[in-house]
């Protein structure tokens, strides 16, 4: 995968990295939509790929060539025991490379706005959209990422962020630009993370807050003391302040950024101001959870009223939509002019995220537009409620969605996963929230369960919303 981030563009082609959790049906849809001509497949995913090709074959579609990547000694013989074997025209990656022309000349893009990559947005919406990245944008985001991650030359980078996710926030190219070493894990585990850090002297890594959560909750037997600070970029979801606090205690230096697939990964970074060092650890963690300011590769990030396009005041209170413009915003959605026009209505890319702007210009996310709960006419930031639930010592993960309520319209419903060996009742969680929040913001319902997540660690709130919808309305009589 890492090599293909260079070989594919150098061949004049466009890279389309697919989510490793997709099933054959989804892969077949994306192969068709992207018009892929070659599919490179890791041996672990060969069945999924073969299944996708069968679906295309049945629909009489032209099939892409398959090239098998394997780090096993004899992948073909072992795979031949499976139902789906390689077809005669399929190639193994190493043979494919061996057959290359040594004097092949790099095919440079005709125009710097030409596509370098196509990234389908992670499946929190029903129909994935193909986000087109340009050479220009990828170059600028790669350089900006080196700066925002404080990545000097020759870093040792541990891949806990999937490379298929926004091309690893463009860090695939950043690490090469800085002459770094890539440490890749087949599966991201607590043990794999700590072992790699110790063994390879990892300097940098990145990942969604769920990766941070794995680290701070790793069993004692697996944790190792860090011999030097490890810089961790996080984003994808606002990290709960408690997680940031514990990461710091363990010796990790967390840089918090924010972005979307449409912005090549990170668009903002919460640049740490020295004067914040004198605040209490709790205050520091709260500020650290802000999304911050646009990075050096991006022209502008603002919080605006979705209709009037006016900037909201920098009062830390007025919510508006996060809007972004600049070179590191996608060219558009492939073959979807309508979605592209909607996304850029008013001349800015509309993130769909709701935020406030602090007096120093730092933005702070309050919610996804579609996640926000409106209860009795009041906006409730699910992120704020989740942060409070998260601060309860027994809680491992939490997600809050709106549950239909005949009286209030909606009230917060919390899905909570407790830590191993911990106990807490629904009443205890609700009381904890009421101690820290206005009563109307505290959940009325608490459900203890595992949380459904995407492969990039985002909690799939649409799944939770379907569940609460099925549960029906909260009782009409409310004494809140």
């Amino acid at each position: 995968m890492y090599e293909l981030h260079f070989g594919v563009p150098m061949a004049g082609a466009v890279l389309c990295a697919l989510n490793t959790r997709h099933d054959s049906a989804m892969v077949s849809v994306l192969l068709r939509h992207s018009e892929a001509k070659i599919i490179f497949v890791d041996h672990q995913l060969l069945d999924v790929a073969k299944g996708a090709l069968e679906i295309l074959s049945k629909a009489s579609r032209k099939l892409p060539h398959l090239i098998l990547i394997s780090d096993r000694e004899s992948p073909l013989s072992s795979q031949n025991n499976n139902n789906r074997s390689l077809a005669s025209k399929d190639l193994k990656y190493e043979s494919f490379l061996a057959n290359g022309e040594p004097d092949f000349e790099i095919v440079w893009p005709n125009d710097e706005w030409d596509a370098i990559a196509l990234n389908y947005t992670s499946g929190t919406t029903s129909r994935p959209k193909g986000v087109v990245y340009s050479h220009r944008g990828a170059y600028l985001n790669s350089l900006a990422a080196a700066l925002l991650a404080e990545m000097p030359s020759m870093p040792v980078y541990l891949w806990t962020l999937p490379m298929f996710h926004c091309n690893g926030w463009c860090l695939t190219w950043t690490v090469a630009a800085q002459g770094g070493t890539n440490i890749c894990l087949r599966n991201v585990t607590e043990k794999g993370i700590f072992d790699s850090i110790t063994q390879h002297q990892v300097t940098h890594m990145a990942g969604a807050p769920t990766v941070l959560n794995m680290i701070i909750n790793a069993p004692r037997s697996v944790q190792r003391p860090l011999s030097r600070t490890v810089n961790v970029m996080t984003g994808g979801a606002p990290p709960p302040p408690q997680v940031l606090l514990k990461m710091k205690e363990l010796g990790f230096n967390v840089t918090h950024g924010y972005g979307l697939t449409e912005t090549y990964g990170p668009a903002t970074v919460c640049i740490w101001k020295p004067e914040w060092n004198s605040l209490s650890p709790d205050e520091q963690a709260n500020i650290h959870a802000r999304q911050g300011v646009n990075h050096l590769g991006l022209e502008d990030v603002d919080v605006k009223d979705s209709e009037s396009m006016k900037s909201v005041p920098s009062d830390a209170k007025t919510m508006g939509e996060v809007m972004i413009r600049g070179n590191t915003v996608m060219n558009g959605y492939l073959k979807d002019r309508k979605a592209t026009e909607d996304a850029f209505r008013g001349g800015w890319f509309r993130s769909g995220d709701l935020a406030v702007k602090h007096p120093d210009g730092y933005i702070e996310l309050k919610d996804r537009s579609k996640d926000i709960i409106i209860s009795g006419g009041e906006n409730i930031s699910t992120i704020e409620v989740e942060s409070v639930i998260f601060s309860h010592p027994s809680v491992l993960e939490a997600a809050v969605v709106g549950r239909p309520d005949d009286h209030w319209g909606e009230t917060p419903c919390a899905f909570v996963k407790l830590k191993n060996g911990c106990n807490a009742s629904a009443d205890e969680i609700i009381k904890h929230c009421r101690d820290c929040l206005p009563h109307y913001m505290a959940p009325r319902t608490v459900i203890f369960d595992d949380l459904p997540t995407t492969s990039t660690g985002k909690i799939q709130k649409f799944v939770l919303r379907q569940r609460v919808k099925a549960m029906g309305s909260v009782s009409k009589a409310s004494k809140l």
Copy 2:
């Protein structure tokens, strides 16, 4: 000067920073050529500026507005004692700022290739050329400079490199981009450098090898131990290995880059490979003096045959001309189409510098095309000869030029400045060279004197060439 690097472009104007050593005649030529509308003048240079305006006035030229910058309490009253006082329409900088419109909107460039700055090449040629920088190039060089200087966020940068020189290699903008602190010295002195480093916890600085020379030869009374490593970018002339060695011993981490005014300052950087750490200090210093590879903001640097445009082999022996292309190469020379076309003949910017390419792709400068000595048909790299002279313990500075020779065509003539309190005869210097170099490369003449330099620390070889020309040919009989 630093503020003007932002205010001028934000007003939609082009910044043209002039060399502080220019006299009134030169300033009048440049004001006329650049068509400057406003001239901002430091109080120390008011006489020079007024003189230039008088010259323009006599030639019935339209005069630019003058705005006086002063860090003295009452500059006007003290200046009024001079012959040339401020005219009634002249303004003081602080009053000028106070009269600004608070809600002035930034004038963005219409096109990213629009000019942001005009830089006249330093006066080693008789007729200065106006190098046009674009917003695009300046932006990219600024980001690349942060990466090549290993400059993390919030650096403390000491200005020992003049801001008028390639806009301080674009570090003016880099330091702002990284949220840094600027430490400015009115005059660059050994004491000023060491005092600033101690007082302000300087993390980064830059300068020509002459600045490094100042540091390593600073009197004991002025030197201070460094409490942390100071990163120093050097370039403008190949730093002698002995200088690099001593800088390292003092605790400075020197990054060696190479570039020209036409490339926004640094174009290459000698990125240090970890495997070189096991070499002897001398070998390390020799490798460190190589110019290296293109930085991340630049497309390509190559060494080519000037006529055929073919790349020279990477054999560390074959000389060719350093050629450069990419976004951080100038738009062209202002009002000089012919010079621009000549400079870009063949599609690459021709540096006029001669170099070899090492097997790892690193380039190493051997000479300026016009500085190289051709003796008996053999090319003699003046840089190599200078390095050897420099390694003599009594030598402070050295420059070698070709002296006409009836028999050999040219032979090397060395101009040497000895360290305070040191003695060495011409014979001793020549013997030292013969011990380290082929005999034909050793100087035949050694002259002890101060060396003429430009204000950016470059030795003015054309002045030395005029002197040796006046000396006439070396004796016809040669036994070499």
